[in-house]
Symmetry: C2
Subunit: 212 residues, 2 copies
């Protein structure tokens, strides 16, 4: 059994992965924790500590082997599981997420889209045909969906999530700004963009005096 | 002077604001920290501690006055400053952000959009005409832009940010998956959606055995 890993460490792993991907593209084979830290704005100590939780990586006094470490982190994050993904709600956000290149790049398969709007049902978005939200549980079972990305209006959100109980769905990535409760056995990660925007506004408001 | 507030506290304030907004819409006038915590999935102790960093809120044994607390938090987050916002890059993500209702709801003014694509320049997106990215510094000055939302391809990102040095821009909300460096005097908040998706994949991968 692996030791308990902190949520903060888990959330840094995708950033490590991204930096290693860029370094690999540049042809870098070995990266020191100093250089790694400089690129990320994270201390080398924090990086060494995070990676040590998962076992022995890198070579003392040399650095980390970029491709090896990248593959190991992708594996730790479960990206080798080829998760099947559906987006529920094809409004502006759902549409942007359907085109979000990181989803296929990280090994996820976007296999279904759902909407209630008859004008959207049957249309293709980035190569995937939009299904009727009425057929959600049927299509989820047929296509063995593991992850649902929730991008619907707030009113419908909890009912949709409840209907996934006992299905093949193991995780929900929730963009609906509500504290949606997931059924037992389904993990939920809440994505709330007002957190980033609010944090930015807070910081730039310090010592700010509006012009007359 | 206010005491130093932790980043974690700042990032919970938008969630508090959201919950208070919903409670207000429902007609709730007073909310206890227990009920507040239940709605958010955060302990009442954490909520009381966070809010105490900003001064005296609520009434012991009664709860928080919903509208008053909501207005106070919006003020702490600087939402009363009516920040002027521009989105640079009107691809799928930029387009979705141009339609993101929370931007006007929280008091931000979306006053400019920029793109390099001649087919997009001059078109309206959600009531705002797309300007040429060549005119960025000119339009930023004319419209007194405070916040730039960066949603461009990775190659262009650092050059765009560098060109904002010495302008009216005080903050950048960065959706480009790079560790962009902001010029002095400009605050940057990085938004990386792979963090949420990676965290979800990590958690659902624990004890997962793919079907044969």
């Amino acid at each position: 059994m692996r030791n308990e890993i902190s949520q903060a460490t888990i959330e840094r792993l995708p950033l490590y992965l991204r930096t290693l991907g860029i370094a690999e593209t540049e042809g870098t084979e070995i990266i020191s924790s100093d250089e790694f830290g400089r690129r990320l704005g994270i201390t080398p100590e924090q990086i060494r500590k995070d990676l040590a939780s998962f076992g022995q990586f890198g070579k003392k006094g040399v650095g980390y082997y970029v491709t090896e470490l990248k593959n190991r982190i992708a594996k730790i994050l479960g990206f080798e599981n080829s998760w099947n993904v559906a987006i529920v709600g094809v409004g502006n956000l759902g549409d942007a997420l359907a085109h979000y290149k990181k989803i296929p790049e990280l090994g996820f398969n976007l296999v279904a889209l759902f909407d209630v709007d008859k004008k959207k049902i049957g249309k293709e978005v980035n190569g995937v045909v939009v299904s009727s939200a009425e057929d959600l549980t049927k299509v989820v079972a047929e296509r063995n969906i593991h992850i649902v990305i929730l991008a619907v209006p707030t009113d419908d959100a909890q009912d949709i999530v409840d209907s996934l109980e006992g299905s093949t769905v193991r995780g929900i990535w929730n963009f609906v700004p509500l504290n949606i409760q997931a059924p037992s056995g389904i993990r939920i990660v809440h994505e709330d963009l007002t957190v980033g925007l609010g944090s930015l506004s807070y910081h730039i408001s310090q010592n700010y005096t509006p012009a007359e």
